[in-house]
Symmetry: C2
Subunit: 324 residues, 2 copies
Amino acid sequence: MSRKAPAPPAKARETHAATAAEAAKRVAVIGAGAMGLGVAQSLKRAGMDVVGFDVSAAAKKRLVEAGVESAASAAAAAANADVLVVTVVNAEQTRLALLGPGGAAKAMKPDGVVVASATIAPDVARALAHEVEALGPAYLDAPISGGAAKSAKGELTVMASGKPAAFERARSVLEAMAATVYELGAEAGIGSSFKLVNQLLAGVHIAAACEAITFAKRLGLDMEMVYKVVTSSAGNSWMFENRVPHVLAGDYRPLSAVAIFTKDLGIASDVGRASNFPLPLTATALQMFLMTAAAGMARDDDASVARLFAQIAGLELPAAPNEP
Amino acid sequence: MSRKAPAPPAKARETHAATAAEAAKRVAVIGAGAMGLGVAQSLKRAGMDVVGFDVSAAAKKRLVEAGVESAASAAAAAANADVLVVTVVNAEQTRLALLGPGGAAKAMKPDGVVVASATIAPDVARALAHEVEALGPAYLDAPISGGAAKSAKGELTVMASGKPAAFERARSVLEAMAATVYELGAEAGIGSSFKLVNQLLAGVHIAAACEAITFAKRLGLDMEMVYKVVTSSAGNSWMFENRVPHVLAGDYRPLSAVAIFTKDLGIASDVGRASNFPLPLTATALQMFLMTAAAGMARDDDASVARLFAQIAGLELPAAPNEP
């Protein structure tokens, strides 16, 4: 159970605990999935006036249970907002939330700031920034990483780019949701490019961890000992250290799903192709996640690539205690 | 210059500083390249009676300069040795040193211990152990990692398997050359399997680091900032953190050469094929190292995969200060 739903602890950095100006700040959070719910909670904890929206009834319910006001539409959530944080899954949803019918960019304050946090292609971020800024609000290209647990604690990492004035106006919001805010440049597209490079590595490293740990099993090695040796050797990666325990525990409940990496490595592959740049490991890892998704595990934890290899090769990996 | 030839510091663990029994221990070191020279120096520093051998005149000269006796043949070095450390490059050289004409396994004490440290296939390690032990000496399947600098300091990592009695008799030698000695099982082949899994990950991670950092350059990102962001994010790996600075400095003097990974990922691929196990990322990374070697960089630093991608895509990476 230790992997599930960590309780949000009190925010350590008391500097964020609500000056009058920050407390008066009205913030809309569009998309209340694993990441958005935590962002909404973190902003609320910082004393801000937060309204959330999600198309899913279950997500709306979780918002309300967390004490966050839930609006009937993206536009209703955005009404009069100073800052609009978009924590949806992809580019299509980001566009719909901001610019679709009943979209939020028109409803928020014209001098407000959009913080767009989905992982999207850099050229899409540039196009969205252009369209949003034509309506008035500034646009921060601000992908996030860290997962649901860090989101709930307000300890995300934000890789952001945009106009310095937009950073100024959104700073209290960014700092309430993140432990680290990288300001990476003055134009949209840069933040998304950094995120893409990070996701490329993260995805390749997860797939490599799964390839290696199942190969170790095939070789007859003690997998717990492999974990111990590798994590203290030059073969280690952040992802190996973080994901292999899911395999060792036989626990594939999704902390981050396979579908996230078919999406993100898909974007990286598309961007590589569009810019005439070869990405052989990205392409290979993408195929491994696609095979895993095709085998019925798209919504399971991304360490399921190891289960795919075990199925293919007839290996017996550890099973969760509550499985038959 | 900070990357070159670190001076061997005094050994921190004084527990190794020569009991009478250890001081009397006679140790042969066959293969005095980057790793073997450091091993010989570390054993000498621990007060042991060390004789080295290498087929290369330059390596012999470095041994003598380091104050280590240099023998005329592997057998001469091994004469009457209690422990024989084989620090050559591959399986063929290991076999030649131990069992070839003038080989060392017959020359050493019949109750001695062979410490075989090259990265080789597990079934080759099992075969060598069988043949050596038929002659008398025990065999430890004991691949090392850590690089030349850690070798010189006696701070290698040893991933070893073999009979417990052999570990007992070789313990003072293993502890003088290594900071960490993993005892992974009672049979040859297990140590080599662990090393292979580690090398698989290390090789994939180096290739991934090179793919990612050159992609970042293509996207127009500040590479130093990419290094900073990735090393503090979930996309990090030990190899990304260690090798990307070579690219940022334009310094491809070999700390570990491309040829090491064409060899080690080649072994991993062979073992995978022989055991009917798919290794897609290993295969892809192997091709990337082969392309880099084919382009003339086999003896350069393994971060040269980034130079290959830069050449292919017409990117300008940082050049070393002393290059035109």
